[in-house]
């Protein structure tokens, strides 16, 4: 407790004692070193048993002036900026039930602490899925994936979480439990708060449950890959496929130094439909050879993070968003500026949506020097560069880049929902 003023210790002791009245004793415990959030050490971990308990504990922490870090599977706790303070970790680990799978209505109501894999397993029993392929599905939870707005290759066809979520229940710092949206796919009654909290990094409220629209599991799937000779060819092919009448579910470009450029395309259809589409794809790629590469290829985005995690040095990863027509341009830009800042190496996976992730290998100082240059160029074209994972060496710098001229409005929203800056203080854009 070195350096912590006695006032906070008192607050904290009062909080922990009061939290034990709300949540049974064993679910309020002292934090350990592994609970650190981007190097900031919280004091107490609370695992409420239901959403009422969660709202009550959140209110208590808010009343005591403590900083609260909502946590699901803890897979992306390093995302965003390091918190200004992290007194209490509010875990959704026990809010893990699939509440209602209305399969005939293609909807599901699920608690926020349910892992993506457990949710998908439950849905698959009725031949359905949440059409989303986020990182680390075995550990990542519904709430965490929503808060970070994580999406993978399937986004091309099925949209992002904002397009799949139809209802939400939120616990606000003042203890309010509020729901918005509903259980039906089509609904325009009231403001769309499910979208507001998707990607808000838990800075407005803690998501306690969500309702999603679902899609049927595909009958047949095929993944095909081809090599592109150079970046211009890859860009041309990617746009040609997008401009075609193929009904593909995903399309991505894999880039690594000293390796061939790979384009991967995913089809989900009936067996007869597949054959016809593959024939058509061949006429678009002309001379390039199509190979059956199998579903594992779609884990390459996660592999960028995982490779970094399993290797000796845990490497930084940035999420970039550019116009689909600027994908090659962005990769060329990356190659150019990383040459100037040798020794930086990078590899990338970019989706046809213009979203992608880039992993950097180099000294933290040189990566930190590269990011502002990259960001300035990408932002000039209307895109963005966000540091997702800072790596073991904790690459410094603002994670988000420019939120544009709406920042004052975003601050007003934050002020309305969380006036004491209790939730994830400092982790979001503009230091919110």
């Amino acid at each position: 407790m070195d350096g912590v003023p006695s006032a906070i210790v008192t607050h904290h002791a009062a909080f922990a004692e009061a939290a034990r009245v709300i949540v049974s004793n064993q679910f309020v415990r002292a934090a350990s070193a592994s609970d650190a959030v981007a190097g900031v050490h919280p004091q107490t971990i609370v695992e409420p048993g239901d959403e009422q308990e969660l709202a009550a504990v959140l209110k208590l922490a808010n009343d005591e002036g403590l900083g609260v870090i909502p946590r699901g599977g803890g897979t992306k706790l390093g995302w965003g900026n390091p918190p200004k303070r992290a007194d209490v970790v509010l875990s959704t680990a026990r809010l893990n039930r699939v509440l209602e799978h209305a399969w005939a209505d293609l909807t599901v109501t699920v608690e926020s602490g349910c892992t993506i894999q457990n949710l998908q397993d439950a849905l698959a029993r009725q031949g359905q899925r949440l059409a989303l392929d986020p990182l680390w599905p075995r550990h990542a939870t519904v709430g965490g994936v929503l808060a970070t707005n994580d999406s993978g290759a399937l986004r091309l066809r099925f949209g992002a979480l904002r397009d799949l979520i139809i209802g939400v229940t939120l616990a606000l710092p003042d203890g309010t439990l509020a729901k918005s949206g509903g259980k039906v796919v089509k609904n325009v009654a009231g403001y769309d708060l499910p979208k507001l909290v998707t990607g808000a990094l838990g800075t407005l409220g803690v998501i306690t449950r969500a309702v999603f629209r679902l899609h049927p599991l595909p009958k047949d799937t095929r993944t095909l890959s081809c090599v592109a000779g150079n970046l211009d060819d890859a860009q041309r092919l990617l746009l040609a496929i997008q401009d075609s009448q193929l009904a593909h579910s995903a399309l991505q470009l894999r880039y690594a130094e000293n390796a061939a450029l790979q384009l991967d395309i995913l089809f989900e259809a009936t067996e007869t439909g597949l054959a016809a589409q593959i024939e058509k794809l061949q006429t678009i790629v002309v001379a390039a050879k199509l190979t059956d590469s199998g579903p594992e290829i779609w884990k390459s985005r996660q592999a960028l993070y995982d490779d970094a995690n399993s290797g000796e040095a845990h490497l930084p990863v940035a999420k970039i968003s550019v116009l689909p027509s600027c994908i090659a341009k962005t990769l060329k830009l990356l190659a150019r500026i990383s040459v100037n800042l040798r020794p930086i190496h990078f590899c990338a996976v970019l989706q046809a949506t213009g979203l992608g992730c880039v992993r950097f290998e180099g000294s933290p100082a040189s990566v930190a020097a590269l990011l502002p240059v990259l960001r300035a160029e990408v932002e000039r074209d209307g895109g963005s560069v966000v540091i997702a994972d800072r790596g073991a060496a904790l690459v410094p710098g603002d994670a988000w880049g420019s939120p544009g001229d709406a920042l004052p409005l975003m601050r007003s929203i934050k002020q309305q929902f969380d006036p004491k800056a209790t939730l994830n203080p400092g982790r979001f854009v503009g230091g919110m």
């Binding site: 003023p5 006032a7 906070i8 607050h11 002036g65 303070r85 209305a102 005939a104 992002a160 904002r162 397009d163 939120l170 309010t176 509020a178 729901k179 918005s180 039906v184 089509k186 609904n187 325009v188 009654a189 009231g190 403001y191 769309d192 708060l193 979208k195 507001l196 998707t198 808000a200 899609h215 049927p216 599991l217 009448q245 193929l246 009904a247 259809a269 007869t272 439909g273 054959a275 016809a276 589409q277 968003s321 689909p324 027509s325 213009g354 209307g382 963005s384 966000v386 939120p403 709406a406 409005l409 007003s412 929203i413 309305q416 929902f417 006036p419 800056a421 400092g426 854009v429 503009g430």
Partner: protein, 505 residues
């Protein structure tokens, strides 16, 4: 005019809560004229009459003035004056809304975006189109037709309704089952806030850093500001489209077919259902050559040819299994257009079989359809009022058309009561009070039935952040305004901050 009276009563009560309501006097009119010129200002009572209601004609309020700006700068200048004088304003597109969303506010102005109707940019490689709010929905699809793209949301009024209005209402349409709603297709917005500030929400690229304010703005019914530029996503036309029409003995069998299609893992582009009364009306109006039956189901599949063919065979089997007496697949684009013409004309067509009618818009979980249908039928019989039903069957969006004759004493009130009861049935079934027409002035009281007080208070926090004086389309959506002056909690310094260790952002 029972409802119009009710609205007036509400205004009076809210006047005490909403600041401003200053009259638009001669001095202000002069200032406004200096911004938009003579062509852009309407103050004569005869001309103002055009703007006293939208598509929901039983609510009428005369605005003090109508402004027709032709640029974002003019919109900003107008709203700065409104803000300074605390004059409420209502933005208006084509005025085709069906919930009174564009109903003027007493002592307020109407801001018509009709003159801001340019398509600013078409970016085919990125499938983006940038438009001003007054552009009609259909004009966007027309713009990119040659290149085989289209703008997917297709409300029935698409040939006249404006994109600005679609954004306000988060409009849907028959094809949103597969393609999503307006919100799915809006990537970014330029918005003038109620104090005249210009902000850009979202953008041409995905996942712009910060809160998804574009996502919140779409469907906010003009209560958060005025969109002056809209970045839209367009979609490549599918290789082939096939439309099947099946006649069933009743909506029960048709509903069972819909459930079986979903259960078979298919996601058609559209699934529409009409009951016998709606079929009769459509026939009388546009001679769509529909079979006379208890219920019609229209299923549209699109995609690659081989895929559509395979799935259509399956849909055909499912319909037969559910007692379809007649099945037709439109054999030409002309046949397909005729099938849709009957469906899209259904609302207006009801005018052929009834002097007056209310278009209701509710949503139920699709599986509740048979139960809800029999409840509606029961209410209809009990009240002696006919109800024609048109559904977006795939997503459970019902459009019951409550038929009545205003000239018969008491029938209008009975029809209104019945129409409201249908909403209650939708809520009880776990659905919603509106799927695409919006809450507007019409359904704000029903919001309290669907949401609890904390739910509504939480939504209103968003409004307070955007428009603390509540000048943008006040008196809509929410049953009661929230006083934004009441800060949700007093700021208390964190101990670390007080100790000088941390600083507040």
């Amino acid at each position: 005019m029972g409802q119009a009276f009710l609205v007036t009563v509400n205004f009076t009560r809210e006047q005490q809560l909403i600041p401003g309501k200053a009259a638009v006097d001669a001095r202000i009119v002069r200032e406004l004229r200096a911004i938009v010129g003579d062509r852009g200002l309407i103050t004569s009572p005869e001309e103002l009459r055009t703007y006293e209601c939208d598509g929901l004609t039983n609510f009428r309020v005369m605005p003090s003035a109508v402004l027709l700006p032709d640029s974002t700068k003019q919109v900003q200048a107008i709203l700065r004056i409104c803000h300074r004088e605390r004059i409420p304003f209502v933005a208006r597109g084509a005025g085709t809304g069906l919930s009174g969303g564009a109903l003027p506010v007493e002592n307020g102005i109407v801001l018509s975006l009709a003159r801001m109707n340019r398509i600013l940019e078409t970016d085919l490689p990125n499938a983006r189109v940038v438009v001003e709010p007054g552009v009609t929905n259909l004009a966007i699809s027309d713009q990119v037709l040659v290149q085989n793209y289209f703008y997917a949301p297709d409300p029935s009024s698409q040939s006249v309704c404006s994109i600005g209005g679609n954004v306000a209402e988060n409009s849907g349409g028959a094809h949103c089952l597969k393609y999503g709603f307006t919100t799915t297709h809006v990537l970014g917005l330029e918005v003038v806030l109620a104090d005249g500030t210009l902000v850009n929400l979202g953008g041409k690229t995905l996942d712009t850093p910060g809160y998804d304010l574009a996502g919140v703005f779409v469907g906010s019914e003009g209560t958060l500001g005025v969109a002056t530029k809209i970045i839209l996503r367009i979609v490549k036309r599918p290789e082939c489209v096939q439309t099947l029409l099946a006649a069933f003995p009743s909506t029960n069998e048709a509903g069972a077919a819909v459930s079986d299609i979903i259960a078979a893992g298919m996601l058609p582009a559209a699934m529409e259902m009409m009951d016998n009364l709606a079929i009769q009306a459509a026939e009388a109006a546009v001679h769509a050559n529909y079979p006379d039956c208890g219920a019609l189901l229209l299923v549209e599949l699109d995609g690659p040819v081989a895929e559509v063919k395979a799935l259509m065979t399956h849909v055909d089997e499912i319909c037969r299994r559910n007692a379809a007496s007649e099945i037709r697949v439109a054999q030409s684009e002309a046949e397909r257009a005729l099938v849709w013409k009957g469906r899209k004309a259904a609302f207006a067509a009801v005018g052929r079989i009834s002097p007056n009618y209310i278009v209701q818009d509710g949503v139920i979980p699709r599986t509740a359809l048979p139960r809800v249908m029999s409840e509606i039928e029961h209410l209809s019989t009990e009240a002696g009022i006919r109800v024609a039903n048109v559904f977006h069957a795939g997503d459970g969006n019902l459009h019951p058309l409550v038929l009545y004759d205003r000239s018969i004493a008491g029938q209008e009130e009975a029809a209104e009561a019945l129409s409201y009861r249908i909403l209650e049935i939708c809520i009880a079934a776990g659905g919603s009070i509106t799927g695409e027409h919006g809450v507007g002035a019409d359904k704000k009281m029903a919001m309290s039935k669907m949401f609890s007080e904390p739910d509504l208070e939480t939504m209103q926090r968003v409004r307070c952040a955007f428009d603390p004086w509540q000048l943008a389309n006040p008196t809509k959506v929410f049953p009661r305004p929230r006083m934004c002056g009441e800060k949700p909690g007093k700021y208390v310094a964190h101990p670390l901050e007080a100790a000088g260790i941390a600083e507040r952002f």
